[in-house]
């Protein structure tokens, strides 16, 4: 006797993986409908020339449109067929033996991903130099790398507050501003060097983190978000209006550039190039900045990973899971929240002073709410609490829009005036919606335990809480 479940598979109608002909037919049908619809809508454009109006045909656009519909429909068929096939074919291991858990997304990414990403990050300037074939040509890319790494660092800093401690902070950019203005003011007023100002900026930002932390300790969720949002705006408005100190909206310019431990990147006798006996090039400073922010970002990561394994890190995560239980276990929740705010703010301050030294100019306009929103989006999209997820989030959200700059060929299709850059926020929003549908807990949502007895197993996001404010 065969078991009933196997009969269906034996009756000759073995599930077909993908019926290409039928899919093509249907896709062609969809394409034809799209063609029919686009004739009245897309195919002609009215143009005015003097007093006359005449029609300009746009068959190229129609062709692209129809091709997109055709392709999407075909992909949709392929997707559904594969899914149906997978459901129809029973797995040999199904329910007969212990289910061996698939390695989680994190484990898959981390095994190859972390050395890979680190390698790419370290060798990035050289790779770009080789690809672009010259220092001058690689300027744009190194600059982009610096920008992305700045956001990686900010994301990692905010991850401490939002991802680990579960405190929703919408005003993180305030600490970035504190760090930037600390360096700008200390260096222009007192002539302190970058390496002295960097820790000072971190300390000042941490101090402001605690100042923000105190009043909001009792708040949760939406209320916390609103107050932190307000804090971010207050800092920006103070920077605009306290003209005596900050020079207001005009900002602070001619901030001293970074030096290589005292050696300026200049063409002069006492410059970096002359000291090492190499030819001077403007890119030397850029590459130095790149490695500086890489080192700062890795420091952030190292400290965060370290903190996660220390009692304070576990207390943060416990606080995110259940604050009341924390109190019953003798954890001082006030201090724990304040340390999260302070340490997160400190890294924001480091990143801020790096921003000031890179730009040589700071103004309040760099620290608006959109920055906070982007940093928060990086953390949420990457996966709260996951370091590698946040790094990926930063690359996608900051690097992704840059791709749009390099899509010039699209203007051949959509007309000369088409600028893909203008669709940046639209794509950004669509990406967000797609993420919320398919991976609502971020790209890497699993949590890695901070300690294990026998085997470290990733914890599914269904158990991990987001925190309540």
């Amino acid at each position: 006797m065969t078991a009933p479940s196997t009969i269906a598979a034996d009756d000759g109608s073995a599930p077909v993986r993908f019926d290409l002909v039928a899919a093509l037919k249907d896709s062609l049908k969809a394409g034809a409908i799209a063609f029919g619809l686009s004739i009245p809508i897309l195919a002609f454009k009215t143009e005015q020339s003097g007093g006359d109006i005449f029609l300009r045909p746009r068959w190229g656009l129609v062709a692209v449109f129809v091709a997109i519909i055709f392709g999407v429909r075909l992909l949709q068929h392929a997707f559904h067929a594969t899914k149906a096939y997978r459901l129809a074919t029973p797995d040999a291991h199904q329910a007969t033996e212990f289910v061996h858990a698939e390695p989680s997304a994190f484990q898959k990414v981390s095994r190859f991903g972390i050395p890979f990403f680190l390698g790419i990050a370290i060798s990035f300037p050289f790779l770009i130099y080789l690809i672009q074939g010259g220092l001058d040509q690689s300027r744009y890319w190194v600059d982009l790398g610096i920008l992305i790494l700045t956001y990686v660092m900010l994301g990692w800093g905010l991850n401490i507050v939002v991802g680990l401690a579960g405190l929703l902070d919408l005003g993180y950019v305030a600490f970035y501003a504190v760090g930037a203005y600390s360096y700008a003011l200390l260096s222009t007023t007192f002539g302190l060097s970058f390496w002295v100002c960097l820790p000072l900026a971190g300390i000042l930002a941490a101090f402001w983190g605690i100042i923000l932390g105190f009043p909001v300790l009792r708040l949760r969720g939406d209320y916390l978000a609103i107050v932190t949002l307000a804090f971010g705006e207050i800092v920006r408005l103070v920077l605009i209006n306290w003209t005596d100190l900050t020079n207001g909206g005009a900002g602070i310019s001619s901030i001293p550039r970074a030096t290589f431990f005292g050696l300026p990147f200049s063409s002069g006798e006492d410059g970096f190039a002359a000291f090492f006996g190499i030819e001077y090039h403007g890119m030397q400073r850029m590459i130095f900045l790149y490695y500086l922010i890489l080192a700062l970002a890795l420091l952030t990561n190292f400290v965060t990973m370290r903190l996660r394994k220390l009692p304070v890190g576990r207390a943060w995560e416990a606080l995110r899971e259940d604050e009341i239980a924390c109190r019953s276990l003798g954890i001082n929740t006030t201090n724990t929240k304040l340390t999260a705010f302070a340490i997160g703010a400190m890294f924001g301050g480091f990143a801020g002073s790096f921003f000031a030294v890179r730009q040589g100019f700071v103004s309040p306009e760099s620290f608006n709410f959109l920055e906070s929103a982007i940093i928060l989006a990086i953390v949420v999209l990457g996966g709260m609490g996951s370091q590698i997820g946040v790094a990926i989030g930063a690359v996608v959200l900051v690097g992704g829009p840059e791709i749009l700059r390099n899509l010039g060929f699209l203007s051949a299709v959509f007309g000369e005036s088409f600028d893909p850059n203008e669709y940046r926020l639209l794509l950004f929003g669509m990406g967000m919606v797609a993420m919320m549908v398919w991976r609502p807990r971020g790209l890497i949502s699993e949590r890695q335990p901070s300690v294990f007895l026998k085997e470290s197993k990733a914890i599914s996001s269904s158990h991990v809480k987001e925190g309540h404010g």
Partner: protein, 280 residues
Amino acid sequence: MRWLKDPILDVQHLTMRFGGLVAINDLSFMAGRGDITALIGPNGAGKTTVFNCITGFYKPTEGMIALRKPDGSHMLLERLPGFSINWKAKVARTFQNIRLFSGMTVLENLLVAQHNSLMIASGFTFLGVLGIGGYRKAEREAIERATYWLEKIDLIDRADDPAGDLPYGAQRRLEIARAMCTDPLLLCLDEPAAGLNPRESLLLNELLLSIRKDHGTSILLIEHDMSVVMEISDHVVVLDYGTKISDGTPSEIRNDPRVIAAYLGVADEEIEQVEAEIGA
């Protein structure tokens, strides 16, 4: 009445009002050192409110809650900030609706419970980040202590699983183990047997008795399951409408007409008779 001779917990004239509602009304009782004291009463009697006052989640409107340490000194719990009640006064508790850190592993749950001692070992994080000081050793010891408790509650095989994955009974046991990892003098359990099957509740009895025997921890528990209460407790305090209606050994409680009246109610025709009996 041995609990009057050497009480670990001395509650006097405890009153808790929420606006116009009097949740606890002038409650005084003592819990003996090394005893298992049960706090029972019908739903809404104010048992959990008493717990919340003892463990610092509520500040009582009136009254005094004194914890007497073995060396004779005492601490007034109503004056301590919430987190100090566990750390300084050594009172641990569990919750009626289980409050585990469900996204953390079983082992991590037990390490979070040892937060304060580990915090000191890590030099309040400063030394720990730099990797100096005895944090590694302290963490190893903390894991050993966690392992001890995991073996005791029979969850050692699931140490690396998320706490949220455990079945209900195991979560209850884990919550008790987590409270015990804080090394308490007094363990307050809020309905530890709720939702357990008879076998599990038998195991719970054994666990509680062994906690008292091996660790000298006094236990104060709220329970509806009379098999647990009558089996293991040395002393029972009965609350009804925020007032203490009876206080004594389990056998005394069992035969107290007030307790029976509070739990079972009284038929209309018997009211006068019962009132005469209990002197109301």
